[in-house]
């Protein structure tokens, strides 16, 4: 408990320092609870998520960093490895491949990379996975783009 708190505090300070360095990620710690964080990440360019801003919710376990944080999308996203309803993310480093050398910041980077490179063979969103697996890249992209517009972009006017 103490170790995780100390480590999260280090990360907090690092985030304050690096804010300018990575314009694609904005990590914010809950005012009253250092185990709860939210992040805003920019959809990577040349993907259907481009132009969208996606919100992630982090819940950090007491055993952190021995255990990975739990992360889910709060913003609706159409992606093979993200559960459409719950926002749950299927990503190896959040499960078996976790290493304590990862940080919340680097987890965000990994999620951005996952947005750019979906893994349709381990889908949480079967519709999305099936589109890609059947080779219907255009169908997938237009669905993903539509949901980016609907959910991840500021409403105009």
């Amino acid at each position: 408990m103490q170790a995780s708190r100390a480590r999260l505090f280090k990360e907090y300070k690092e985030v304050q320092r690096e804010k300018v360095a990575d314009p694609d990620i904005q990590l914010v710690c809950d005012d009253s609870n250092i185990f709860k964080w939210t992040a805003l990440i920019k959809g990577p360019s040349e993907t259907p998520y481009e132009g969208g801003v996606f919100q992630l919710a982090f819940s950090v376990p007491e055993q952190y960093p021995l255990q990975p944080p739990q992360v889910r999308f709060l913003t609706k996203i159409f992606h093979p490895n993200v559960h459409f309803k719950t926002g749950e993310i299927c990503l190896d480093i959040l499960k078996n491949a976790w290493s304590p050398a990862w940080t919340l910041q680097s987890v965000c980077r990994a999620i951005i990379a996952l947005m750019a490179h979906p893994e349709p063979d381990s889908p949480l969103n079967c519709d999305s996975g099936n589109l890609l697996r059947s080779g219907d890249v255009r169908g997938f992209q237009s669905m993903a783009k539509m949901y980016t517009r609907l959910a991840a972009m500021p409403k105009k006017g």
Binding site: K10, E14, S99, P100, A101
Partner: protein, 261 residues
């Protein structure tokens, strides 16, 4: 940028703080706090049902089987990942029992072993035929390492040359003799055993003073501790089975010795 690289090379990738008790994994030599990497090594197998004898480096994923720490330029300590006495081929139950002994207060002497008589009756002039196997097992148990021949030869060599020099004469009291013996053994063993050196010297003295073979000595010792370890020497414990049944060394009475001098 320079500043950042510097700070990251001096901080532990697990706690992100400056490294305490610098430790390295034996394959990739990535650096961590001792406690941080130890916790990680212990935490990972607790998630899996099978026990693992390695830890994956948090940075590069290479598998290391030990953590190296307390490196001071000459020597270091090594923590084996999940030392499992059932599966590792050299670390027998006998080794385990010997290691456990070191976690027990040395307490009072064993009844049947009279250490002062050993010194007063000059029994130490006789080489102990089981000493090699005994020291070997002891060092293996303490270091949890199989190949300890060099250390054992070193310690026995020091004892042998001490014994040879002793016989040339120079009469000093048994107490001083005992002191001298313990000092030279401690000096020989200290670089390897460090904090456990003094206890090791006492254990070694007790073993040679007992004039028992290993098997008999273990029985007496376990009996003394009051432990219930059924047949520590069954199964594949060759090291113990190789030894003859209990054959006490020739014992001299004080008069015999005085007569020959």
């Amino acid at each position: 940028m320079d500043q950042k690289e510097q700070s990251s090379s001096d901080s532990c990738p697990i706690c992100l703080s400056p490294i305490l008790q610098e430790s390295y994994l034996d394959q990739c030599f990535h650096k961590f706090c001792y406690n941080c990497i130890l916790q990680w090594a212990k935490f990972v197998p607790s998630r899996h049902s099978s026990q693992q004898s390695f830890v994956k480096c948090p940075l590069c994923k290479r598998k290391s089987s030990s953590i190296i720490y307390e490196y001071d330029g000459n020597s270091f300590q090594q923590h084996l990942i999940h030392q499992n006495s059932e599966t590792s081929d050299f670390f027998t139950r006998a080794h385990k029992y010997r290691l456990q002994c070191y976690y027990v207060e040395s307490g009072n002497a064993i009844d049947n072993i009279n250490i002062m008589r050993y010194w007063k009756s000059y029994k130490y002039r006789q080489p102990n035929q089981w000493l090699y196997s005994w020291v070997s097992r002891e060092i293996q148990a303490l270091l949890q390492e199989k190949d300890v021949d060099i250390i054992v030869h070193h310690i026995l060599g020091v004892i042998d040359s001490w014994r040879r020099n002793e016989q040339k004469g120079c009469k000093i009291s048994p107490e001083l003799k005992q002191e001298e013996f313990k000092r030279i053994v401690a000096d020989a063993a200290k670089p390897f055993l460090r904090g456990r050196t003094d206890r090791f010297v006492n254990e070694l003295e007790m073993f040679v003073a007992s004039a028992l073979n290993i098997e008999a000595y273990d029985k007496v010792y376990i009996n003394h501790l009051g432990w219930k370890i059924p047949e520590i020497n069954d199964g594949d414990d060759e090291e113990l089975e190789d030894h003859d049944p209990l054959v006490p060394l020739l014992s001299f009475s004080d008069e015999d010795i005085d007569g020959t001098l």
